[in-house]
Each structure stands twice: as structure tokens, then as C-alpha cells.
Assembly symmetry: C5
Homo-oligomer: 368 residues x 5
């Protein structure tokens, strides 16, 4: 696992600005490449992992063309491109593997939703890696993947990913991966991403719980509305990333392509189960999050009730007593009670009686 | 029926942490077995029931390999494995029956949602047994089931289940079970689980009712929000377990497999009706539960109304009276009324008149 | 029409306890018969109507076996069984007509949802007769129906139904029924039940209206929440009974069975239209009912507003006046106004001026 | 256009009572005709329009049998029947054109929802003409239509409709109608009804807007709840009439019948677009209407807020001042301030200072 | 990009009046052309762009007939008609290209929802261009498009559009457009419109954010309800325009027509992805917008709470103190405390004690 998981106080940025890749430049010809993301990684680093059941080499280069001549015939090549801002690198790859211009556009268009496109010689898949960065900001990494006969190319926006354990499994020849084709490698990558969704869902569950705790503890201040609204937005964005991804996996399971081995289909079906678990949970958290606002409303109303009760008790007790005192502050020539020997004390008695009976009344109403 | 049903005060734990089986260990190769549940049953106990129309033997062993040589050719074998934490036991079973590694992973992954997987030689079904444990906690037991030609293997997280009456029926040769194949045994097990869902639904109905009673009786305190929120969560979790299970039963009814006898299909169709009854009820309880929050809001508002009325009545009556008393407490040199012989008593008369007319006013407004 | 329709003040019981038939007894073998209803009709009464275009006989017996030998070959037999608690009677019928054990179980399981099962020799249909009993309680009568080549068997929980007009039509040879087969008889029975749903819908519409009237008239007290909640529940239960019934009719229309004559299909299509009318209305009433709670909330808030206004007006007027009186009740050695000749009357003038300008202010704010 | 469109203040009646045609009379044989509507037009007036590309005659008779011998062979006959209460007239028509009894029942059953029934020799279509009558009541006119090879029969509840412009087009041989078959005539009639739906939608839009204006202007009184509830009901009833009608048009477009010319299908497809426009708008208005209640709630809360502010300001200012005056109204033997020369004026100064600082406080809180 | 994008303060007009084209004139024959829009462009301007890989001419004429003889055989012709109020111009085009009368009606009917109609020789597509005009009003431009073998005709309501960059690409032979057929031109036009939807979505996102900021900053005044309601309406209208457009693109992708080249289908699939991105975002914004009203409600309630607290604190502190002062303002003959030497100061001490303990109480309750 990489450092992306060291989350503590997630902050969610405002609604993301959605822009299309070829919209930025004037004369926006469809098929023109422009990176639309916000991760300003200046260089492109290309990682090449070349393996067969018996062989394994790895190298990192700063230009894709250097990678091409390191591939061995008969081996599976995994080419992982980090950084999408160097358009020429992407284009070189496109020319070498004969990729359709629209694919190249989708690779650099970070707003492209998850999808799968079938071409005669390769499959093209787009999905999202969601994570909290070191500042706790909810980030969206655009990952594209081209699966060919003996190769798999992955494109990421920046260095650092969740595939380290997969790299070790290839290096150490652990599990099925070294003995299977590029399709199983693709499965393993998608599997790692889905694994990471579970981590996100756990964080989300924790946040819902902590908001509920705040609400139950009645210590909510106004900022909680903001937290709830942000949580809603986060759930909606997760939904937006995961639901189309489930469709991608579903179609992958049913695809009729020579690129996908029948044995791998079993694994993809299993992956589909896992994604469905994620989407089920998202829908539950969605309902719980929406319910938080209702809970907050009742919390506010309960507080107002308490304020009102204090006012009512204080006013209802002292207003009548003040009236009684007012009576005997009058200057009428003839107020007989004023001249009673213990009049003042009698009045105190009456006042205490009124006071106690009101107290009793509020007690019975359960306001005290 | 077993002791799980002795429920009194169900408490629901927080949102469950969802983790994937092979995520816990580093280098998480898909197909690696790790038990993800929370029930720490150290040992695995394997129960073998071997029967034919004329024959019946039962035994409990602590290692699956001991069970294999007790099976008689031609008999139906029901192997029930309690406890999923001893990975090696599960793996031995997998080797003996030639089960796919992904199946073994799903058996120990307690977060796997209900599903059915068809393999050439067997069917694999996962579902959930929901119950309240002795502390009233809402528990989720992960049950997997492998149906083969002459055998049925069931996997449970811990000892104790709802199949005792089924065991007796096999022992006493009651009903169809001894004369039918392993498919009918599978039906009987799923039927027992659905029966138990009805029990859960009854408890849920009781809880909704008791919350409604509290709300109608106007004795709701703040904690009721928590109860409602917990009930919501429970309904959502039940939904999450039962709805995919309905799909499993539905697919089982339509499956084209030699493992399922045509006669059993009739029973499975019946089972489908029963599960649908459960899902219908869940949806009704869902709507009722969501409505509880609205009811609570009106309860709070009604209470606030009552508080306000008391304040308004007290203040509206005594503030004018106090003003009247204040008038004759002034020290003007010349206030003629002060020197009237019965001025004081006249004022009392006026005050009582004001008091009574205000009372009448509030009475007419139905505030008293 | 029978006495069930003499409704006045419908009371809805609590959420019904849902239990499965074979759950009550220990060792609950699927296919074991146990009546789960609450209508304790001790005896079973069997009514036999035997008719052909030219012939008509009717008789009531207390044992089904007596009915079998009264049937004439070539005639249509309608066997109507009232009372489901005498299991042996149901079993005799099952043996005579060779009914599947699961059908018998569903006949006595009053919680079985509406459904249709096709068997080679007969159709089995379950639906619900909803009505208010003499105490205004919302009741649920479980009706099952077996349609065979020349016979129709109906099962009801207790005596008394809505088929009297149908019986007369058979007796008097009115309409198509005497000239048509048992399939038309089945249609006629389902038609009578749908007719009765319209009656229920009228009652429901009346109750929504009367609740709205109460809310508009602003005379709602707290119990209205309870009424609304009960109405919600009633609507949900009606939905639960009618929506699957619509599916039954829909499948009946499309069924490929020699038991259903093509001419009857036209009538069934018409029946489907009528059930759809009922479901449309239920959905409208559902939305109206859910809206009632919102209306009630605004009613409460409006009332609170009114209370607040009275308090505000009274306090805002008399608090400043009391302050003015308080000023001249002070005992300073030198307060010049006190010694003005008409000081007291000047003050009264000032007070009246303050009073009037506050009145004017509240008038302008439309609070008076 | 006819007078139905002169709407000013629409009033919506209570939820309509839904009754089935053959329910009113005892012994309700399916197929028995009873008019269920509320428009008591005693007589039936039959209008016959007979036309071909070259020929055109029109006549109005008071008995359908008189119309039959006015039809010319080879011409298209449009028979328009106004008034459904004279059952015998409908039955004569049914016999002459050999209509199925269930069709006749649906013609007089004003609660029949929009539908289309295909018979070998004719198509039967039911839909609703919605309009506000001269009193502004929201009315529901039941229109049925039988399309045969050379004829079209329309049934309406009362005189007066929206087809006048169509009649003129036939008379003046404008447009396609005289050169097309009875199927185009049917299209033209349905087109006129959809045109009228647009009028309704405009009225509804106006009402939503005027309610919004009232809410924004903050002049809403309690009756607005009633208006909103009525609007909801109206939207729901419009939905109930238009959505199944859209299905009718959709099926008409795809129907495989020799009665519908291929050229007319293009027009029907266009009609479908128009109905979909209406349903789209209904769904938008639905959401807007539901939102009105929320707006009203915030309006009430805002008002209460304002009331509270006035109370709080008045009480918070004068209660402390009254206290200050109370202090110096005490009769202690020794209160030094009372004997200060300018004590009274000093106190006034203090009071004004308190008054101003409180004013400043409320100003800063933006309450003034 | 044209000036339509210079938006600053969008104002949304009231719910648009929906009228059908042929409804305005009496005797509304289907197929009669009437422009229903509100953009009163008196003249029609026709722009002709004629191109092939090697050739390119452009011209603007004021009568469509002048355009016809400028087209070169073998070239692709793009005829762009601005202004729909000159019916005769549209009709001339219709005759020249043999367009169906219903197409012409849909071209001028600005309320026609997005759709695609297939005709043997051409495709007809309707969609909406949404934008804010120079006054910030949310405008709806009706665009129709006829795609033929070698030509593409577009119809717009007024001059000025978002196709300038496309015109330049054709002029400068940039991108694929000059080498592809009229189908690619159609794609390029639709692509430009979808690009513009992204701009709208950005504005909408900004507005939601600014409303949230206002709500979080607690500076919301009553007008915000109006803003939220307008935003809701805008989202609903955008939905109404974009969702059917997605269906159009979807059908275009699957259409079986010789007019669409297989290579273009790849581009259309890409377009579909982009529209889906728009619809996904609309649904998220919809949920966020609906949530704003809830947030506003809590804001109001929080404010009321604050008002109540101030009142409660002031009243609860000074009412008891006033009572104490009232006691010693009484005129009883014998009140011992009055004659204590430091009685007045003792009382002050008591008052300060009461004052401080109440302050402490409110502090502990977190009201201060």
C-alpha cells in the first residue's frame, strides 16, 4: 500500500470544474490532445515490466521510444506511463501501437467517465482511482488502460499508485500472474483499484459515524451542515466513478474477444461481485447521509425546545410574583392588607405557595 | 429452533467495517484465503450426515479428512463445516472436491454478497443468515454451500444454526428429504434460512410498532432519533442481504443444470414466493421507518407549541395586570383614583375583569 | 352485495404479524398444512354449484367427500370451500383432484402473496379479498382458486363473500356464465373481487378527503398523525395485495393453456384494465397521503406562528407602558414631572399614544 | 376553438369517486351497460359527416338508426355520438357495426383509462379530453373511438368539443383529410385532443407561477396549502390521463394493422413526439409543484423569525429599563442615589445609554 | 467562441409558455408551418459552405433559391439557415430537397423536443442549443438538421452560433472535416453543441457553489428561495433538453443507414460518452440543488434559535431582578429589611449574585 492511504482529516474541494480536453485550445478539432487535469507533473516517466513464466526484467525510462526496444518477443510487456501532460509521449505510444486518435484524446481527458471500447486489436478501458491525498483532499486519478495481445499499457496522471503489491507479485512470481497472459494482468490491476475502493468506503463509513456521534451528542454547531453537504458530494462523486465502472466490468465479463482468456473470465466475474459490493454499500451510505440532514433538523428543533422551556419557566414563575409585588407597591389611600401586622410575611407565604405550585406544574409536564 | 431466537432488546452495532478477504495480508494475491469475520471460533468442527432412503449415519470430526472415508457410495453426504478461521481445513476440502480457488476465497470472505456461481460439476451459493445474538446484537452469518451430484457442503462461521429441525427430519425420515437428492437438501437448508427471515421481520415489525407507540404517547426523548437511525440501518442491511438472495433463488429456479431435479424446481419456485413475501415486507417497513422521522418532527413541533402556549398565556395575562398595578404605584402629586374610598377594590374588580376576558379569549382559541 | 360493505369508522389493526404456515409446528416439513389465519371458523362448509346451459343444482355439505358424488358428468362444478382450519378436508380435496402438496400448503398459508402457478392439469391462483369488517377493521381474506377442465374450486377463510350476485346470475342463467366454461366462471369471480377493490378505494378516498378537511379547517389535534400513519399503512397493504394481483391477471392474459378459452381472454384483458385503474388510483392516493404529513407540519407551524404573534403583541405593548409607569413610581427626591398639575393625565396621554402607534405598527405588519 | 377554453379561476373538485359501470345495478353481469358519468345529457345527438375527395354531406339526427341509411358506399363516415346515457342508442350502434359487448361497456364507463384494443375488423381506442368548464372546474371527458375500414365512430359524454376546426377542414377540403382514409381522420381527432393538452399545461404553468409569486411576495395565507394540494391533485390527474394515452399512441405507431396506412404512421409518430412533450412538461410541473410546499414552509419559518425578532427586541430593551426604574421605586430607608440633586436625570442618562447600546447590538446582529 | 458566452448574472425567465406550431392559426391543419419562437429575426439569412478535399467556397445569400445554383457537384454542401420566421424560405428548401411536410413543421416548432427521424433519403435531427444571452437570460435555441448524401442543412432561430471554430477548420482544412463526408460534418456540429453544454454546466456549478457559500456564511435573506427555485427550474430545463438528446446520439450510433460512414460511428460513440458525462453531472447538480432548500431550512432554524437565546437570556436575567426590586417597592407598614442600615446594598449584593449565577448557568448551557 502506498502513502495515499495515510488519511486523517479529509477535506473535499468544491464541485470540480468539468472541462473537455479539446475545448481549451481554439479551433478544437476532435482528436486534438490536451491534458485537462490539475496534477502538474512536468515530466513523463515510463516504467516497463517485461515478464514470462521464466523471465523478468524491469526498467524506468523518460521517453517511451526507449522502452520499445527493451521488450522481448513472447514476453508480456506492462508499460506504465505516469504523467499525461507531455502530449508528444502519448502520441509516440499511439503511433507505435497504432491507437485510434479518439483513444489518445480520452487518455488525456481526465473528465472522461469510466468506459470500455472494443477495437479489433485491443481493448481500451478508462476508470478512476479515487483517494485522499496527503492534505486529506478527495482526489480523482484518471487511469486508462490498453490491453493488446502481449502487452498492457496503463496511463496515470502522476507517480505513485496502488500497484506496488502487484509489482512484487510479478517480481517474486507469486500467484497466477507470471503464468497467465496480459488479460490476467489487466484483471489484477483492476482488482487492486477495487480493493482501494473498499478503503474509501471505510473512510466514508467512519465519517458518517462521526457525524452521527456529533449529532447524537447534541454538540453540533452550524458547520455540520457544511460537513454533511460535503459528504453528500463525496458520495455522489464516488457513485459517479464506481457505477459506470461496474458496467465496464460487467461488459468485460460478457465480451466476446480473443484477448480475454476463458479462465480469466472467472476472475472477472469475481471482480464484478466485489464492485457490486462497493455499489451496494455506496447506496446504503447515500441513504444514511441524506438522513443526517433530517437528524440535524430534529437536533436544532430539540435545542430550540429547550431554550423555550427555560424562558417559559422563568417568565411564568416570576411574572405573577412581580404582579403580586406590584399590587402592594400601589399608593391607594386605603389598602387594608398593607396595615396588617404580618402582611408582608403573609404575602411572602402566598408568593412561595405560587412559586411551588408552578414548579410542581412544570415538573408534572416533565419540563424540569 | 435454536437459542438465537431468544431476543429481547436488540442492539445494532455501528455500520460494519467492510474489508475484503485477501486485503489484510500484504501481497494480496487474488485467491489467497483469509477469514475476514469477527467470530473467533478457533477450531473447525465438521459434521457429516450420510443418508439414503434406507440408511442414515451421522458423525462429528475435527478434521475434514477424517470425514471423507466415512461417506458411503450411493448415499447423499451433507458435510457441514462450522468455523472458517482454519484455512487449511477449507483448503483440504477444496482439493478433495476440486473446488475453484475463487470459491474458497468467497467461502471465507464474510463480506461476499449473496450470489450463485455455476461450475461444470457443482453449484456454489453464498447467502446470509441474519439473527440477533444473545446480547441482542444484529448479527450477520456468512453461509456458503456447494452442491454436487451426491453431496452438499455447507460452511458456517460458528457452531449453532437453524437447521436442527432439518437434521431431525433426516434422522426420522420425515417428509421428502430422505427420498430426494442433494438438491432437495439444498432447498431444505435455504428454506430454513428464509423461515428465519420471517422471524427477523416480526422483530422489526415489533420495533417499528413500539417506536410508533412511543411517538404517539408523546413520551419520546431525544434518544429516539438514535433508535430510528439504527432501525433504518437494520432495514437497509436486511435489504442488502435478502434482495440479492431473491435473485439467487430466481436464477436457481431457471437454471439449466443436471444437478437440480425437475421436482425440486417446484419447491424452489415456492421458496421464491416466500422470499418475495419477505422483500415486500421489507419495503413496507422501510417506508414506515422513514416515516417515523417525520412523525418525530411533528412531535417535537407539537411540544414546542405547547410550551409556547403556556408562556403566551402566563405572559399575556400578567403583563397587563402588572401594568395596571404599576400605574397606581406612581408618585404623581395628583392621581385622583388613589383617593377614592374604594379605589383599591375598584381596581381589583377591573383586574379580575381583564383576567377573565383574557381567559375567555384563550379558551375560545382552544389554547386552554 | 354482502354485509362487509356496511363500513363506518374503519380502524386498522397494527402491522400484521407475518408467519409461515409450516413454521408453527416443530419439524416443519415443507408441504405440511397448518392454517395461519386468525379467523377461527371451526367447521368447514362446502358449497357445490353444478351447472350446464340447461341444468343447475346447488347444495351445501359439511364434508367435501359428500360433494364429489353430486357432480354430474359434462357439467361445470364450482366447489366453494369456506374455512381453512380443518386440514383434513383440504387434504381430501387435494387427493381427489390430485393437487400438488405445495398447493395445499399455499391454500392454508394466509400470508401467501397473490400468484399464479401453472400445472399440467390445472391452474392455481392465489389472491386477496380486502374489506372492512363490521368493527371497521381492515381485513385481509386469503382466497385460492384451482381451475380445472370442468371444475373450479375456491377456498375462503370464512363464510360470507362478494359472490352472491354471481350465484344469482348462475341460478337465473343471466349473462354469459351458464353458456361458458369454468374459465369464464373464474373470470367472473376475479371480476367480483376487483369490483370490490373499487369500493375500498372509494373509502380510502373519503378518508383522505376527511383528513384534508380537518387539516384545512385547522382543527387537527395530535391524533391526526396516528390517522395519517394508519392510512399510509393501509395504502401500503392495499398496494401489496393489488400489485401482484395485477401481475397474475397479466400472466393469465398471456398464458398458453388449453384451460382458457380464447373468448375468455378478451374478458381477462378487460379485467386487466380494471385492475390497472385500481393500481393507478392507489399510486395517486399514496402521493396524496404522503403529502398529508407535510400539510400537518405547515398547520402546526402556522399555529405556532399565531401563538407567537399574540405573545409578541401583548408583550410589546405592555412592556413599554409598564416601564413608563415604573419611571414615575421612583422615589427620587426631585422628579419635576411628578409635581406638574396634570402630570398624571399627560402621562396617560403619552401612554395612549404609544399604545396606538404600536397597534398601528402591528396592523401594518398584518399581525392583527 | 370552443368555449371550454374561456377559463379564469380554475377550481378543482374533490378527488373523483371512481365507480365501475356495471357495479351500480345489482346482478352486475360483465358486459351490462350503465353510464357512470356525471354529465346528465338526457338525449343523444348523433352527428354524421360523410365525405370523399369529391363529396361531402353532414347531418344531425337524434337516433343512430337514422344515420345508417345516410352513409354513401365508398365514402368515409364519421359518426359522432354525443351523450352516453341512452344505453339503447349505444347498443343499436354496437349491433350495426358488430362491436364486442366489452367495447360497449368501456364506451359508457367513464372511469376506463386510456387504452387501445385490437379486434379483427376494427380498433377501439379510449382517451380523455381534459378541460376547465365554465365554472373553472377541472373536467374529465371520456372519449371513445372505433376505427373501421371506412368509418370512424366517436363517443363523447356531452355536446361541445374541440373538433370544430377539424369539421371546417373537412367541409372546406383543407389539408390532407379529404384525400386520406378514416385512419387519418382518427389521427386528426387525437391531434386536436393533444393540442388541447397544451392549453391545459399553459394554465397549469400559470397557476404554479402565480402561487410562486404569492410565496415570493410573502403574502401567503393559510389557504395556499389548499391551493397547492389541489394543484398536486390536478397534476396527478393529468398524468393519469396523459401517460397511458402516450402508450396508446406508441402502440398505434407500431401496430400491424391493415386499418392504418403507412403514410399515416408518419403523422402518428409526430403525434407521439407531441404527447411526449406534454408528459415531459407534466413531470417538470410535478417537481415544481412538490417544491411549492417546501417554499411555503420556509415562508412560514421566515415569518415566525420576524415575529420573534420584534418580541426579542422589545422585551430585551424594556425589561432592563423597567428593572432600573424598579430599583429606585424601592422604599429602603437609605438609598443614597435618591437624594442626589440630579439623580433622576443621571438615571435617564443611564437608561438612554442602555437603550442605545442595545439598539446598536441588534443593529449589528442585522435584526433591525 | 461567440459572444453568447459572456455571461455574468444569469436571470432565468418564468416557466416558458409551450405552444404548438400549428395551433396559433385557426383551422390548424397538421403540416401547416408557423414559427412559434420569440426571436423576432425578420429576415432569413442563408449561409452556404461548399467544400471538397481540394475545393472550398463560402457565400451568404438572403434567399435559399440563390444558394442552390452555387453548389458544385461532388462537393459537400453545408446550408445554414438563420431565422425561422420566413415560412416561404423554409418551404422552398423543403421542395428542393423533397422534405416531408412534418419535417418542415418540426423545423419551425421551437417546442419540438430533441429527436431523430429516419427517412429513406435523409436523416432529420432536432436538438437544443442552450445559452445565456447578453442579459443573462437562460435561452433555448431550437436547431434542426437534415443530413443527406452530399449535403447538410442546419436551421437556427437567429444569427450567431457556436460553430465559428468549425467554419475555420473547414476553411483552413484543419482536422478530418474536409476529407470526410457530410456525416462527419453533422458530428462536428453536434460535438460543438455538446462542448457548449459543458460551459453551461460550469455556470450551473458556479451558481450552486455561490448559493452554498451564501448559506454557509449565514447571510441568506429571503430572496434565496427564489434563487434556489430558479436554479431548480434551470436544471430541469437542461435535463429536458439534454436527456432526449442523449437518446438521439445513442440511436445515431446504432442506426443502420448508408448515410453514416463506419468511421464516423467511432466519433459518434465518443460523442455519446461526452453527452453521458453531461447527464451524469446534471443529475449530481440536481441532487445538490434540491439539498439547498434543506440547508436553507436549517439556516432559518438556526437563526431563530439564536434570536430565542437572546430573548431567553435577557428575560431570564432581568425578570427575577425586577421581581426583587418590586418586593422592596411595596408599601407594607412593616417590612423589616427596609430599615436595615445597609439593606439597599445587601439587596444589590443579592441581585449581583443572582445575575452571576444565571450567567454561569447560561454559560454552562453553551448559550453564551
Amino acid at each position: 500500500m502506498n502513502k495515499r492511504l495515510k488519511i486523517k482529516k479529509p477535506k473535499i474541494p468544491k464541485l470540480p470544474k468539468i472541462k473537455r480536453a479539446h475545448k481549451i485550445i481554439k479551433n478544437d478539432v476532435p482528436g486534438t490532445l490536451t491534458y485537462t487535469g490539475i496534477k502538474e507533473q512536468k515530466h513523463v516517466s515510463v516504467e516497463l515490466i517485461d515478464y514470462s513464466p521464466t523471465n523478468y526484467t524491469t526498467s524506468t525510462v523518460d521517453d517511451v521510444s526507449k522502452a520499445f526496444n527493451k521488450q522481448l518477443a513472447g514476453d508480456i510487456s506492462w508499460i506504465n506511463v505516469n504523467g499525461l501532460s507531455q502530449i508528444d509521449q502519448i502520441e509516440k505510444l499511439g503511433q507505435h501501437y497504432n491507437l485510434h486518435p479518439l483513444i489518445l484524446e480520452d487518455i488525456v481527458d481526465t473528465n472522461q467517465r469510466p468506459k470500455i471500447d472494443e477495437y479489433p486489436d485491443y481493448l481500451f478501458i478508462v476508470f478512476k482511482m479515487l483517494y485522499y491525498d496527503e492534505h486529506g483532499t478527495f482526489m480523482n486519478e484518471h487511469i486508462s488502460l490498453v490491453l493488446g495481445e502481449n502487452f498492457l499499457i496503463t496511463f496515470q496522471e502522476a507517480d505513485g499508485d496502488v500497484f506496488d503489491s502487484l509489482r512484487q507479485r510479478i517480481a517474486n512470481a507469486k500467484g497466477r500472474v507470471r503464468n497467465a497472459g496480459s488479460d490476467y494482468l489487466m484483471f489484477a490491476i483492476m482488482d487492486a483499484v477495487v480493493d482501494h475502493y473498499f478503503t474509501l468506503i471505510e473512510v466514508m463509513s467512519d465519517r458518517i459515524e462521526s457525524l452521527e456521534d456529533i449529532l447524537f451528542a447534541n454538540t453540533a454547531d452550524q458547520d455540520i451542515t457544511q460537513d454533511i453537504q460535503e459528504l453528500k458530494r463525496e458520495v455522489l462523486r464516488l457513485r459517479k466513478a464506481v457505477f459506470p465502472f461496474r458496467e465496464v466490468v460487467n461488459r468485460l465479463e460478457k465480451i466476446d474477444s480473443t484477448l480475454i482468456d476463458e479462465k480469466t473470465v472467472t476472475y472477472i466475474r469475481d471482480l464484478y461481485d466485489h464492485v457490486t459490493q462497493v455499489t451496494d454499500s455506496i447506496d446504503i451510505y447515500r441513504e444514511m447521509t441524506w438522513g443526517l440532514m433530517d437528524m440535524y433538523m430534529t437536533t436544532i428543533s430539540n435545542k430550540m425546545n429547550e431554550v423555550m422551556k427555560v424562558l417559559t419557566i422563568m417568565a411564568s414563575i416570576f411574572i405573577p410574583l412581580t404582579f403580586m409585588a406590584g399590587i402592594y407597591g400601589m399608593n391607594f389611600d386605603y389598602i387594608p392588607e398593607l396595615h396588617f401586622k404580618y402582611g408582608y410575611f403573609y404575602l411572602w407565604g402566598a408568593m412561595i405557595a405560587v412559586f411551588l405550585s408552578l414548579l410542581y406544574y412544570f415538573k408534572r409536564k416533565k419540563w424540569l
